[in-house]
């Protein structure tokens, strides 16, 4: 069990892990860092790669991290030497952190076609999809559907919700921000009222949704688009998202060009391509989110229209960064009573 021993073994394995590190036939290569689910076989990446390679005379390579935050941290750790040309999948809550690293360049794309619920003219981060947080429930099991956080808190004793931990999960953090934005100073009070409803707090979205599908809780923190997956992919009509009067936390996913890219032209070409129908039509039924432009084909059947723009709650990234710790502490204290 020496290092040499290990290295030899590793070499034996390398054949099974060969990646498209070098482009075939001297073609230019564009490397995009993204999160796991985007690059999965069933995610948007395979379709995006096929469509972009039709028009770019290049090779598109996706490199995955466990999450979009992980992708950002990877670029940060690699610094100037990073092979990444683009980072794709950051959400608005982490984008300010990414901007502050100074690692990203202007995208140069025309944003006029954008159709996201908020005004967008960021020169570094370009959106490619968006989604809303919501509590998802089984229509056959939940009798009274709550229309607000206060109604959720007032549900009968035996109705339970599953949420995610803001310290380890993106939707978990989104929920803390959602309550904060809807209730401001009253957020702590709302959390104390919700506490008896909370069955458990999980590390990740997957753990929470898995328990929910097992019937452990009546509602789970997820996305307004979750029921569309069950309808379209499984022909299962039972699930729905509870619509709240306060509005819904909006999560916009963005991409940005890495400053140190050796393919600046190609990277800008991709950013422009990202806002065309070819890319955007892939998004709804692979990423289960809303496309960032209105495509000619529109939303697939079974997809609910997005929440009205005036109900979109989104917080300035700088505010999130400045207050995140205090707000998570408020959440923790209220739920630990």
């Amino acid at each position: 069990m020496t290092w040499l021993h290990k290295t030899l073994l590793a070499a034996a394995f390398a054949t099974t892990t060969t990646m498209a590190a070098t482009a075939e036939g001297g073609k230019r290569e564009l490397i995009i860092y993204t999160y796991d689910a985007f690059a999965a076989d069933w995610g948007p990446a395979p379709g995006v790669k096929a469509e972009f390679e039709k028009v770019c005379d290049c090779e598109l390579t996706f490199v995955t991290a466990d999450s979009s935050i992980g992708a950002l941290r990877k670029v940060q750790l690699e610094g100037e030497a990073t092979p990444a040309d683009i980072v794709l999948g950051l959400d608005t809550n982490i984008a300010e952190v990414a901007r502050a690293t100074g690692l990203f360049a202007e995208h140069g794309a025309d944003l006029s076609a954008l159709s996201v619920p908020i005004e967008w003219n960021d020169e570094v981060f370009a959106p490619f999809d968006y989604s809303y947080l919501a509590f998802v429930y089984n229509t056959e099991k939940l009798e009274t559907v709550p229309g607000s956080f206060e109604e959720l808190a007032a549900l009968p004793e035996d109705v339970k919700i599953i949420i995610q931990d803001p310290r380890s999960s993106t939707p978990g953090l989104g929920l803390v921000l959602w309550v904060k934005q809807a209730y401001g100073e009253r957020a702590g009070e709302i959390w104390r009222a919700l506490a008896p409803r909370v069955l458990t707090v999980t590390k990740s979205w997957s753990d929470a949704y898995g328990l929910f599908l097992k019937g452990e809780a009546e509602l789970v923190l997820s996305y307004t688009t979750s029921p569309a997956y069950h309808r379209i992919a499984e022909s299962d009509q039972r699930f729905a998202a509870a619509m709240f009067a306060e509005g819904h936390h909006l999560q916009v996913e963005v991409a940005a060009i890495v400053k140190s890219t050796d393919q600046p032209e190609l990277a800008r070409q991709f950013m422009a391509f990202m806002l065309t129908d070819a890319f955007q039509d892939i998004i709804p039924t692979t990423n289960w989110t809303y496309p960032a432009i209105e495509t000619a084909n529109g939303l697939p059947e079974g997809f609910d229209p997005p929440v009205a723009a005036d109900k979109a709650l989104i917080m300035d990234g700088a505010d999130v960064e400045a207050n995140r710790k205090a707000w998570i502490e408020e959440w923790r204290a209220a739920l630990s009573q």
């Binding site: 290295t7 990646m19 076989d41 941290r73 750790l77 310290r167 999980t202 898995g210 069950h230």
Partner: protein, 542 residues
Amino acid sequence: MTVRPIRIHASVLPGIAVAAMLLLLAAALLAELAVRATGLTLAFDRELARIVAFTTMQAALSTVLSLVVGIALAWSLAHQQRFPGRGLLIAMFSAALVLPTLIVVLGLVSVLGRSGWAGDLYNAVTGRSPGFSIYGLSGILIAHTYLNASFVVRTLVNRLEAVPPENRKLAHGLGLSAWRRFRLVDWPACAPSVRGLAVTIFLLCFTSFAIVLVLGGSPRYNTLEVAIYEAVRFEFDLGRALALALVQLAVCAALVAFVGGLRATGRSIHGAATMFAHLQGPAVNRLQRTIIIAAAIAFALPLIATLIDGSRAEFSRLLAEPVFARAALTSVLIAIVSAAIVVTGSVAMALTRRQFTLANRWADARGSPLAALAMSYSASLYLVFPALVLGLGFFLLARRLGGPADLWAVAALITANVTLALPFAVAVLVPTAERAAARYDRLAVSLGLAWSTRWRAIEWPLMRADIGYVAALALCLSLGDLGVIALFGTQDFTTLPWLMYQKIGAYRTADAAGVALILLSLVLATFIFVPRLFSGARHAAP
């Protein structure tokens, strides 16, 4: 026993090399973080003190429960050699420990959850809803006991079977009560292993993360790992992550030092599993069978739930997916390599460590207690080495030293697997190795056996059953959680547990349950067949 065992000097080298490598690696990984961090940032606030206090309490309770359940069950199984399906039961008890935690949690929830079988049954019988909830401290303890008692069972059954039949005959002949027989015959056989088991289980529960969150029910229940996660991911405060990791390592060091002075009892060991169920009173036999049946039901139900959930998957499509074949192949290859390293490393460590603890060897030499402690610590420390820090450290090390990223990713993954399984392997093998030496050293030295002859004649026959178990354990623990190599960005590289998490993360719960079923079958098959490969001459000890 004052034989000067001149011949055994060289045997300490491999074990010392392994231990030194483990300690150096840990130091190198932490140093990489220290270089990148701007300094240790740790506020010893009330929250941190509260986390450490709760975690210690939770881990201590979990350890006691696991030991009590495990010892009762091992005692029953060892005495009921002819219990139908005994081999399958022992394999099943071993499976719990090595399954991905999410499978275990979902399995337990199927039985004890809000819409679980136990609640339904209670409701059908009494017409009331049960007041019990698996969410809270009770859920954490149940899950930890479920995972760890199985490890206790498998380890102690071997110890109990090794009690010489003449001791048992004597105890029966003297007409000792069942309790006195347990105190005088069974307990001394278990005792040397119990302390090692207790440390391993405590450390495992101390760092338990997903279970504490998902079954804890409230952020009131928390662990240091959550804080490390937050520091690395959201804050990117490597100094804080490093400081928290050091707190965890310090707790581990204190604990290992506290119970680390393990001394072999010098009792003889014997390979024969001769039990005298007919000599026991009918009440004791009944008690033992009741314990086995109750435990069999409690341990089997969550696994049965996993099988039922999984059987609904569309296997024809799932198995045909190229990603499935890739994941299965990678998992198996990685597991085989990792297990080979674990077996080699743990045997070397066990054979070396006994040198410093046995009265007839160097136990009285100055420095021996420290050497034994360092060896225990080198293996145990990885139980509390946060996976995130391990992955981050490897990534930084890879960037400093250069070379293909893929190779480093594989090295990191194998290292993570090896260091995960090694503490269990060492806990299993150390007592066996010590007792082999205690009994046969004098004979071996007087015969002037060369080490290779001695290994074939003494250690191998006595240790092969345990080595078979260690191999099975290492294989299953190494099927692969890829969290540790997430930073390397190797998207074509996937394993079965990772595929399962990916499927759940993409709403594909039926597929995920199918993968869970395949994993469970693989694990059970490993625990049934791999130990058989090693057990050929199990009873042929001299």
